[in-house]
Symmetry: C2
Subunit: 304 residues, 2 copies
């Protein structure tokens, strides 16, 4: 069980030579996801040699260009690469229309299953679930309908305590699976051995919360509470507090405050405005309230 | 009078780390145009420090992604940069719908005049004309409706032959403009001095023809006849002649043949398929029939 996050772009607004718009490549419990897909994302995926053909689901936070203008190009590339695996796209209503219109205009027939899951709910909901991972929306407050996403591992199997198990002659190899699933062991005389004697707790399930774009809103705190890793946008420093409010973005101080209130283990900040040249100012400001803060940068990897 | 062309991208299909899709920045007689706009074009414009705020018109050949997926991002950037100058976009029907849909979804209000000129004609037509430049479509043969574009300077003023003019006492400075416009000079006794005695012919009007994507078609030859500079796609080498035909692209040999038949002064080739690693093979093949051939490459400038 592990979470492996690679930042592909972490700058706001317009793509520049060394400043790429939002996108992240996430490997969680052997599921491969892409979060947001600004213009140029497919080149960033190639640059960092990420196996992007493995992407199973793409999660789009909102329909501002710096978060999704690279999506149609990536889908076209999948098509040219003769992808056969299904691709599931989660994002705001409208995304399907804009992608299918462009495919229609180019007379492109997609040769793999392309499924859109359009989001409209204003409350947090589970939008993806399998036996190992679940994904919840985090309703954010921005100028258009926007969601963050909480990626949670599911708790794995309990781990066998072999030192104890071998003391019970009646327990055979074929019983191990039931023990891993948490069941007590039943002796031939009908008496029970409590599962917790025979097993250790599973590895703790990890979680990652992605929150961009959003103004400061404490409403997200209960959803992301205690998560291991939080990415929170910080477009501005606190000197631009009013501008942050008007444009519905956050300051570094606000991102730090959210991380603290939610008791997360680590905070990553990004979505920096191009007006700032020294990004360390963002880190320092967030650290005024939350020490374990790191700056996002293209190619940087975070492992939980 | 001059033509200054900068290649921004000249590779086919999917953008890669050092292979950018089609786009060209054209300065012709002080008019600034962009031709095609694949994903990442705005970053290329920045990389080569081209003053892209000056772009007056954008010409889109066809609606395959490698020729226009960067357009919506460029328009968004113009908006963020608070552009006020009008922008005119010439391209196939459908382009307006896809761009305006994306602007609507992002709740973006464009703060400058954005005009779409949608093309549907299958014959060559003049689509842009001012006092110095005209632009004609070049109907191409591809899998979707596609045009190339012929950019032609208009013939400038005749040039004053001062050595001759000073011999005529009656010609004053206020008469020069009429001489430049080709008018004969009328002496006070009513007799005429032929304009050609008093002036030299204007500098020759230059022309540039952009032809991508297209299969080999001699139908374009009369339109691009004798032009100074021709960009013709060559996606494949002649070893892939059948594939070129199926996908409605050209080989280097075919591009050379068109250049020769049209008697152009120089040929630039591009739109290379990613299957080829040695691009010089394209040059050599085209040169079998047309010697003055150059390879396009990102950042390369051609001056006429």
């Amino acid at each position: 069980m592990s979470i492996n996050l690679t930042i592909l772009g972490c700058h706001s607004a317009t793509p520049r030579v060394n400043a790429h718009p939002t996108s992240q490549f996430l490997d969680i419990n052997n599921r491969t996801f892409l979060i947001d897909c600004g213009e140029g994302t497919q080149v960033q995926l190639r640059k960092y040699k990420l196996r992007f053909s493995k992407i199973q689901c793409i999660f789009i936070s909102h329909l501002h260009g710096d978060h999704y203008y690279g999506l149609i190009g990536l889908i076209s590339t999948f098509m040219l690469h003769k992808r056969s695996q299904e691709l599931h796209i989660y994002g705001p209503k409208g995304l399907k229309e804009v992608i299918t219109l462009q495919l229609k205009l180019s007379k492109t027939w997609i040769n793999f299953g392309l499924f859109f899951h359009e989001l409209t709910s204003k409350s947090s909901e589970i939008i993806y679930e399998d036996d190992k991972v679940e994904v919840h929306t985090i309703p954010l407050k921005h100028r258009v309908y926007t969601n963050g996403f909480l990626f949670k591992e599911k708790e794995g199997d309990r781990k066998l305590n072999m030192a104890k198990i071998i003391k019970y002659d009646e327990i055979e190899r074929c019983d191990y699976r039931n023990l891993q699933l948490g069941k007590d062991f039943k002796n031939s005389d009908g008496s029970l051995v409590n599962n917790q004697i025979l097993t250790f707790a599973p590895n703790p399930a990890k979680s990652y919360a992605f929150c961009s774009d959003t103004m400061y809103t404490e409403s997200i705190v209960p959803i992301i509470k205690n998560c291991d890793l939080l990415y929170h946008e910080t477009t501005f420093l606190k000197d631009k507090n009013t501008l942050a409010k008007t444009t519905m973005h956050s300051t570094a101080l606000q991102a730090g405050s959210i991380a603290k209130a939610a008791n997360v283990k680590k905070l990553i900040i990004g979505h920096f405005s191009s007006r700032y040249t020294n990004l360390n100012d963002f880190k320092q400001e967030a650290q005024e309230v939350f020490e374990n803060t790191e700056l996002a940068s293209a190619g940087k990897e975070f492992v939980v």
